[in-house]
Symmetry: C2
Subunit: 281 residues, 2 copies
């Protein structure tokens, strides 16, 4: 199959690796010509360009730009598309994107591969990035079943774990397990930095270990991505943040009141329930 | 050297492995005789007993029980000790322990090896657990310099990164980087469990990935340990929690007010400053 990828970063690049390995011809479009050259050199794409016209004969196009560029990219792509070309995006928020693109292009399926790394950009692209990772598709009422079936087949071929849900349920869910953790984790780092006793601050930096490293990881990640998530999933994220604050206050209250039995019960519950959120292992 | 270990869990067991490899004779005391048998079978100790009298000829004794048992263990140990036997504990809170033991035993050095695993108990004991990890000693004004020097030498021989600080600075520091993360992380899990839309809850469990896994890890850990930390480091933890809540409110406010530039600046700062807390890599 002829497959197009717009945006050759971590996700676009990793898709290119796998799709070429599967025997597809991959054409990649990036803003910088150097990225295209690197993609060819790395074996990520067969052809590269900075012009969307490169994709005119492709059957399926993955939109892998930053969230803010997805809808404008579709608007610029449309003049080059065959009527049955399928578009699918990889944005981490779905409702605003699906709502904006559905009226523009009938053969569109919202998608979100839940795969990431601490590094980004094309140099971080990795074969097999999607294997055993969730890949959500968010078809809506007017989604073409044929187009959906073709994207599903591609997702399966990446060995990803395919899930379907509505765009709004997707956004509420990722607010909990992806976007809330970023703010929770960033607030942890920011709070530690507020320590005004320089000795204590220095010792805490020397002593911090795997617990701090893991809890702070996503809060120390890509700032543009974090801001974009908050911006595009604002209402769902705020809903989760307000619940989180209420829950945190409950813990603070238990500690202030020395209600150790209650605190122990809470921690037993979080220990018991956490594995439900760890399907992948 | 003849070395005693009271409490053969993850930390006590791992110490036994390394100290025997270094050529010391290790005697271990556990509450359950089966634990001692297992410690001998695993090569963690040379001799094991459920009676503290086993340790009467040892030169240095590591107190590796849960925090609540450290002071009572010292009280029971004293009748068996030689006057120059050195005691050192591995509790994750130092001020209450050092204050309680210093009047009881002159040759005591508070200690805290910052090494952990998700699993605990003797089966989780691992050779080399302390290598390249922080190991804090908290000598006070009346600490014997000779005793300190002997414990320092042992810590160095574990290839740990040795730090010194006062018990109170230790407790304030670990509140930030060890105890606060537990509550922040447990609140994340507990908040996610509050989602009342069962479809959204189920999808969030299916989609959660490495970001959630890492941010929730310490909040899904040993409930007894978490409760004990909060109990023994209550005032320092509350100090950190109140600052955290204030910082979280700032993030919530920025998201509510759509102050994306300010949020981006905060996230740039957390990305930039986080590596200061990751000395170990």
């Amino acid at each position: 199959m002829e497959i197009g990828i717009v945006g050759l970063g971590l996700i676009g690049g990793s898709l290119g690796f796998d799709l070429r390995t599967l025997g597809h011809t991959v054409k990649g479009v990036s803003r910088q010509p150097e990225t295209g050259d690197q993609a060819i050199a790395m074996g990520i794409v067969d052809h590269a360009s900075i012009h969307l016209s490169l994709l005119k004969d492709t059957e399926v196009i993955f939109l892998c730009t930053p969230i803010a560029a997805i809808v404008p990219t579709v608007q610029q792509l449309i003049p080059y598309l065959q009527p049955d070309t399928i578009l699918t995006d990889v944005g981490s928020v779905k409702e605003p994107i699906v709502e904006a693109i559905s009226p523009l292009w009938k053969q569109f399926i919202g998608g979100h591969p839940m795969a990431g790394k601490t590094t980004d950009g094309i140099s971080a692209a990795t074969p097999g990035l999607f294997a055993n990772r969730p890949y959500v598709l968010t078809p809506v009422d007017n989604t073409s079943p044929q187009a959906l079936a073709r994207v599903e087949k591609l997702v399966h071929s990446l060995n990803a774990r395919l899930y379907h849900c509505s765009p709004s349920n997707h956004d509420r869910s990722v607010a909990w397990i992806s976007h809330l953790p970023v703010i929770v984790s960033a607030s942890l780092i920011a709070a530690c930095l507020e320590e005004d006793n320089t000795t204590v601050k220095q010792i805490s930096q020397q002593l911090s270990s795997s617990g701090f490293r893991d809890t702070s990881r996503v809060g120390g990640g890509n700032p543009e991505l974090g801001t974009m998530m908050a911006q595009y999933n604002q209402s769902c994220l705020l809903r989760s943040l307000h619940q989180y604050r209420q829950t945190l206050d409950r813990f603070i209250d238990q500690i202030e009141q020395s209600h150790w039995d209650k605190l122990a019960q809470e921690l037993q519950k979080t220990q018991k329930e956490r594995p439900r959120y760890l399907k992948e292992d």
